[in-house]
Amino acid sequence: MTTLNERDQITLNAYLDGVLSARERTAFEERLANNPALQRELESLRATVAVLKMAKPISVPRNFTLDPAVYGKPIQRSWLARLGLSGTPRLAMAGAALVATLICAGVLISGMPRGSTAQPAMVSEQEETADRAEADRAVEAPQAAAQAQPTEEATEITAFAAPAESGADQAAEAGGGPAGAAPQSTQPPPSERSAAVGPATEEAAGVTMAQTATGEALTQSPQPTTEATEAPTQPSPTPSGTELPTRPTSIALVALGVLIVALLLGIGMARLRRQRS
């Protein structure tokens, strides 16, 4: 029974089989020269291997060839092999299918019609606001200079209040009831008054109506103007804002697909090389 540890046993067998490096062999032979037990172990292993090599080959009881009647059909080749792509890594094929899908998706997205259904509604609302603003401006246009000094205008309005009453009455008869309601005592909100006044009465009542109005009407008038000036510009950024994301999205999809297929091809080629080596 040997007392060599497993590592020494492995080294002994490797020395016996001649697979030690030159340095390892030199070191082991030095140990061997000074160790009789190691020498006996080596000799017993050498004799064992020699006996094993005396094992005679056994004759085959029969031929193991395959019966053509059973195995003679052509080997079922996959559709990949029939196309000559049997060596193509499956990952690369999957990657090619993926990038084709991404390209199609990118083309479909970029081909979608620009704009959305929400925009026309916004534009129509803005157009209505713009129309109202234009009507207000037409009524209050002569007062544009006076708007800069609301306090002075307020005193002027009161000074002209009496003679303007007749003008307001005429405008009320021409334009309808609500506009002709007592201008001094009860004054409906400026927006209602401006909506009620028709185009025919604009010139007749424009100055007087604005003069008889309180400071509220004068201070409110800039708002429709600004809204009117702003309204036409608002729709324009929006359509271009919805158009922009589609092109980068499709480009990004295509780029991503190309990157993925390149990565998969690289992995597949590395595996093929490893298998062949």
Binding site: A50, K56, P57, L66
Partner: protein, 202 residues
């Protein structure tokens, strides 16, 4: 024999080319199977299964040593057969004699061997096989591939699907066990190979 050409044709579905390869390798394949399985019937079953499996997976061969690739299939078929049978095969002298029955007379006639040495040789073969059967399946395969079939460590690692260190470890243990087992057959061994039973004691 143009092995590469035969393999190429076999991969294209030419059964005749594949059968030519079978005829070339069947002796070595059967002997490896026999040394692992321990009896000729089991070895024949495993060998046939291996050649069928190899034909079905011929397109998975991507180059390198076809012999190693084939023997890996044989070794795996043996392991599968052993697991399936779940028994330890016994190597008997009768089985060995039956195996060599067809060639025994011709062997005596051609080599002019005397009966005593023939019997001694047969006993030695039985002793070798009996001691191989004492090993685990993995140690047995490594010992057979290295010391009977003559493969190197790297080839054995490829055939058995093991790491190089594992091959060295299994071979070391297998040889130690075989040495201890063969010592019991002392008088059967050739005089030049009889090792002292006490020689390994330190």
């Amino acid at each position: 024999m143009d092995e590469a050409g035969l393999i190429r044709d076999a991969q294209k579905g030419d059964l005749n080319s594949y059968n030519t390869l079978v005829l070339h390798y069947q002796s070595q394949a059967f002997n490896v199977a026999y040394r692992i399985m321990g009896d000729p019937d089991s070895a024949a079953d495993a060998t046939q299964e291996a050649f069928i499996s190899a034909y079905r997976s011929i397109n998975s061969f991507r180059g390198g040593s076809f012999k190693s690739w084939l023997l890996r299939i044989v070794t795996n078929a043996c392991y599968d057969e052993l697991r399936r049978r779940k028994r330890r095969p016994n190597a008997s002298l009768d089985a060995l004699y039956v195996e060599d029955e067809s060639s025994a007379d011709s062997s005596l006639a051609s080599h002019a061997e005397n009966p005593e040495s023939y019997a001694q040789r047969m006993d030695l073969q039985a002793a070798i096989q009996s001691c191989l059967q004492e090993l685990s399946e993995e140690q047995r395969a490594v010992a057979v591939l290295c010391d009977i079939e003559g493969f190197n460590y790297e080839e054995i690692a490829g055939i058995t699907g093991s790491a190089l260190g594992t091959v060295k470890s299994r071979l070391s243990r297998a040889r130690s066990s075989l040495r201890d087992c063969l010592q019991a057959y002392g008088e059967l061994l050739p005089a030049s190979y009889r090792f002292n039973a006490g020689s390994t004691q330190s």
